[in-house]
Amino acid sequence: MTEQKQNPADLSGAYALNALGADDKAVYEAYLAGSDEARTEAAELGETALALGLAADPVQPSEGLKASLMARLASTPQLPPLPVPEAAPAEQSAPEAAPAAGVTESGVGVPAAAPAERSTRRSAAADRAQRRWFQRPAGMLVAAAAAVALFAGGTFVGQALNSNQFEQQQAAQLAEINAAPDAQRAATTTTDGQPATLVWSGELGLSALMVQDLPALSADQDYQLWYMNDAGAVPAGTFDSTGSGTVWRVLEGTMHAGDQVGVTVEPQGGSPQPTSAPIVAIQS
């Protein structure tokens, strides 16, 4: 816990050395936002820390590391650029967003809601998904080759609250999954035929779903992720889609061996249990 009496300026050294906990870091960054002088000091001490970093003895990585990295690039989506910097340090960046709501946060590609079209499509889609969800993981192909090309340059669309930090965290987790020695992937399509890929690591207990060209939903709806197993469905986060490009999301909670990952369309903010049939289900 951070005491009010402390002077945030004192944190500059620890900040540059990456020695602050999350609370103090937030305090210091809030302070930085309001002071040119502090930003200058932070930048200079950051450069100073770089000198310390470069003074560590270089170590040549093993041969395989580069090849392994290069092979993962195509299947590793890049984050969209940061939105235009806010004019002032805003306390709330998305005043209308409910805490758990999945709302498009990036300024580009405002979702064009097409509720009428969606509802007509849904019944047939729902039937197919229902079968898929409860009977077997159909149309699954493990192996990356096909999926790989689809996800270059994917778009991340996640929760609105504290979105930048959230995205960084999501990106970090996705990188972790991709880098895990036991990382696996499975591909299928949604009920409307959009390619969907699940990547997961059993060791990390993490998975991420990527879907291409997932249709945008109306403002009062969200896509919701679920972990499904014999015990039932566990909510695993919500997301939104702009309708084109690739959306991806690291699931909340822990993945267990054999879990199915599914997506349903739910009222905005998500539901405690699925209220509609899944549009996609993938067996991990």
Partner: protein, 198 residues
């Protein structure tokens, strides 16, 4: 084999080599895999060097290095050249990742044992691989020698030990406020000795 660079290039973010790194990041942000390969060749030994300095264990350090480069690939779109140098951005990320790993895993305990044997104060290998590295060592060593013993200890524990400021306080059995002051004063002294100006 490491490429020999001039000593300046690694310090001054506006000079030739880092400017190239900025350009590379710019291309990577557009999905350029060749640029990513180039950047990797150029900076991976420095990244792994720093990570290994913190984690000690080689296999774990390579794993973390892989995560770091994937993060570079993913978030090159977020790199803002106006807010600092490419090398700073990358090495800061590397340090953060290494520290995350220490805090998240068994690595912490294993490492403590290995580090216990070593001297945590900055140590320098005098058979450096390149002139560049040797010059850097000398510069940083000289700058570090201008700190007080207490400042040097705090800065080394935080940066090369990967300890948070409260962990440093605990280890040294001194108040947190004192650690903050030592870290800040120490870094400001280092900045002045190294002639870093933004």
């Amino acid at each position: 084999m490491l490429v020999l660079m001039t000593a300046d290039s690694t310090y001054d973010s506006e000079s030739t080599a880092p400017a190239t790194r900025k350009e590379l990041l710019g291309r990577i942000a557009h999905g350029d895999q060749a640029a990513f390969g180039e950047l990797y060749d150029e900076i991976a030994p420095r990244v792994l060097g720093l990570v290994k300095r913190l984690l000690v264990d080689h296999a774990q350090s390579e794993e973390v290095t892989q995560e770091i480069f994937l993060e570079i690939w993913q978030s090159a779109t977020r790199f803002e050249p106006t807010r600092g140098g490419a090398s700073t951005w990358i090495m800061t990320m590397a340090h953060r990742r290494a520290v995350d790993r220490i805090r998240a895993s068994q690595a912490g305990r294993d490492r403590d044992q290995k580090i216990g044997i070593r001297d945590l104060a900055v140590e320098y290998d005098h058979v450096s691989e390149t002139v560049e590295v040797r010059i850097e060592h000398e510069r940083v060593k000289k700058a570090m020698s201008r700190l007080t013993e207490l400042q040097r200890e705090a800065v080394s524990l935080a940066y090369y030990g990967g300890f948070s400021h409260s962990e440093v306080a605990e280890r040294l059995d001194i108040p947190l406020g004192t650690v903050k002051t030592r870290l800040r004063d120490g870094m400001i002294r280092l900045r002045d000795e190294l002639g870093v100006a933004s």
